[in-house]
Amino acid sequence: MDHGILIADCGDSAVVVRATAADADRAWQVVHALADAVEAARLDGVYGIVPAYDSLLVEFDCSDTDHDTVHRALRAAIERLDDGPAARPSPRRFTVPVVYGGEYGPDLPVVAEQLGLTEREVVELHTARDLTVRCLGAPAGAPMMDGPAFPRPVPRLASPRVSVPPGSVAVAGRQAVICPMRSPGGWPLLGRTPLRVLDLGPVRPILPGSATPGTAPRGVAGAPAGNHPADTPAPCDAPHQTPRPIRPRPAGQALDAEPLTAYRPGDTFRFVAIAPEQWDAYDGTMLAAGAAGAVAHG
């Protein structure tokens, strides 16, 4: 069976896979199933994979492996896709309160104009349905989603912002995203959520002069059990005993790591408009499946 997959070299240390299925959902399933297969294969030298909407980037150290080996492993994994898609964890639903427009979403007026809609209509479309998380991407594990049902793609900003505040809710093309951390960004901003998106646990900015990060409680009351199994290490290792050797590395070791996020690809986000005066009620609360306090679906 032809899964409609193209494999191409992407420099001397990466290979990119594109799924050409006309059905976007099918293409996404294929690249994420391939990502799981590559991870499970624990190939020597492979140190990173980036499954996205319809593509998969495989990063490796070309002194430890070669393109042919990676191509072969990918083709073998593609053959095995015929056995049916791997079981994916059942999707969870996240409800995300957002203050739209004004200083929270400075690009709402221009996006409305570009789409030929009123600002209110843009917000209604953005909150109208659950949006599926397709991958964790830039910056810093941002949940990258399918966009709302806008009449046409949203153009990116002509000149990217140097600094986008954390929690900013943005759209571009046919995509939607929340920016977890302050970072540069070229996507138009519709609003901002007061929730914390990333669980940095005990990781806090290391101030110059301090030797160890401060500690803070990890997770949040009411977060579903299972996000952070007790048997996984907290993401901030204590100062270690011996540097972890880069070479030779046990195959696949580097890929077994716990995410900093409660969400994973396949989960859905539902945005809910709140008034600016409701901001403080949620400020700093950790994003968690199911619970967004008392946000009622309108």
Binding site: D12, H67, R204, I206, P213, D237, P243, P245, L260
Partner: protein, 341 residues
């Protein structure tokens, strides 16, 4: 009380390693030393694992004093290294007696120098790496007056002839000049640029001040130097490799480096090679860059040659260090052969 470096002049110095591997799937960039070659060699010259934490000194002068005898090595961009005011060689191990000040001054032609110390330094770790991540707000930058804990003790080193050892280990030193030739391979979206793709190889580009560890911005010398995307249509965000050459706006190239976000929506015209990325990690604003096309096979061969050179250097270091009874820092001191009486 652990032995320390007392930092007198921090400049722009961070504790760094080769990067945070295995986190791309969760949206975290690899980060790590921008000039990977120099960082690896600095560690190898001090007997460390190549991925051990070391100091990445960016552009500005640096000075510190160890509380115990240490063995250090300075690599990367040309600079002046002195110990107690006496010039000492770069790209070789250097013995520093307790209380003598190490100074790294006048970094030039490149932008980053790497100072490794036998046994490495203490550092906070996140997900297996001490590499700073500026977006997460993680990492250790040094400040004037800091005490940086050292992680290994150096036994007394006796040299049979000179008392103080001088090393000639012949690490391969990269060429530093006012302009760079950077190797690239064809990118996966080359076809989207039509006939204009060749401009990347024909033009000379200037590194702009808006360049950092996330990416380098480069300007063409005249209009028409920058390739143009001829294809139109929506590009879905997708994984982009470190080294991706993108054309986001009309008149500038963007070359992604180790701090790059893992996904982007721009077509990838070319990809800088692994050896080219170490060179590009040294490019200063105002310097010129020319791109040179290589096949993937040539790029892989060049990188493997570079890495085998490091492997050979490691073997020479181990031979010399064994003769001087300088321990492998990964081993506890008690396992050392006892000095002959």
């Amino acid at each position: 009380m652990a032995d320390t470096f007392t930092v007198h002049r921090a400049g722009l110095t961070a504790v760094q390693d080769l990067g945070r591997l295995g986190r791309s799937r969760y949206g975290l960039p690899v980060n790590g030393a921008l000039d990977q070659y120099s960082a690896r060699v600095a560690n190898v010259l001090t007997g460390n694992d190549e991925g051990a934490p070391l100091l990445e000194i960016t552009a500005l002068d640096f000075a510190c004093t160890p509380s115990t005898d240490v063995l250090v090595a300075l690599t990367g961009a040309p600079a002046d290294l002195t110990v107690g005011g006496i010039p000492r060689p770069r790209w070789e191990p250097v013995l520093v007696p307790a209380g003598e000040t190490i100074r790294v001054t006048g970094i030039r032609l490149g932008v980053r120098a790497y100072l490794a110390v036998h046994g490495s330094v203490e550092s906070p770790f996140l997900l297996g790496s001490c590499a700073p991540d500026t977006i997460l707000g993680f990492g250790r930058s040094l400040r004037d007056g800091d005490e940086l804990a050292l992680r290994a003790q150096l036994p007394q080193i006796d040299h049979p002839v000179f008392g103080i050892p001088l090393f000639r280990l012949h690490a391969a030193v990269p060429r530093f000049a006012a302009s760079w030739t950077v190797d690239v391979t064809d990118g996966p979206d080359l076809a989207e640029f039509g006939d204009s793709a060749d401009r990347l190889l024909r033009s000379e580009f200037t590194v702009t001040p808006q360049s950092n560890h996330i990416g380098l911005r480069m300007r063409g010398g005249k209009p028409g130097d920058v390739p143009r995307r001829v294809a139109t249509g929506e590009v879905l965000s997708r994984g982009v490799p470190v080294g991706a050459v993108e054309v986001p706006a009309g008149d500038e190239l963007l070359v992604l480096h180790r701090g790059r976000g893992v996904t982007a929506g721009y077509p990838v015209l070319a990809v800088v090679t692994s050896t080219g990325l170490s060179a590009l990690g040294q490019a200063r604003p105002g310097q010129f860059v020319r791109f040179r096309r290589r096949t993937v096979a040539e790029a892989v061969a060049a990188y493997r040659l570079q890495r085998s050179g490091i492997d050979a250097l490691r073997a020479r270091v181990r031979t010399v260090f064994d003769a001087l009874r300088i321990p492998d820092p990964a081993l506890p001191l008690s396992s050392l052969p006892r000095p002959r009486k």
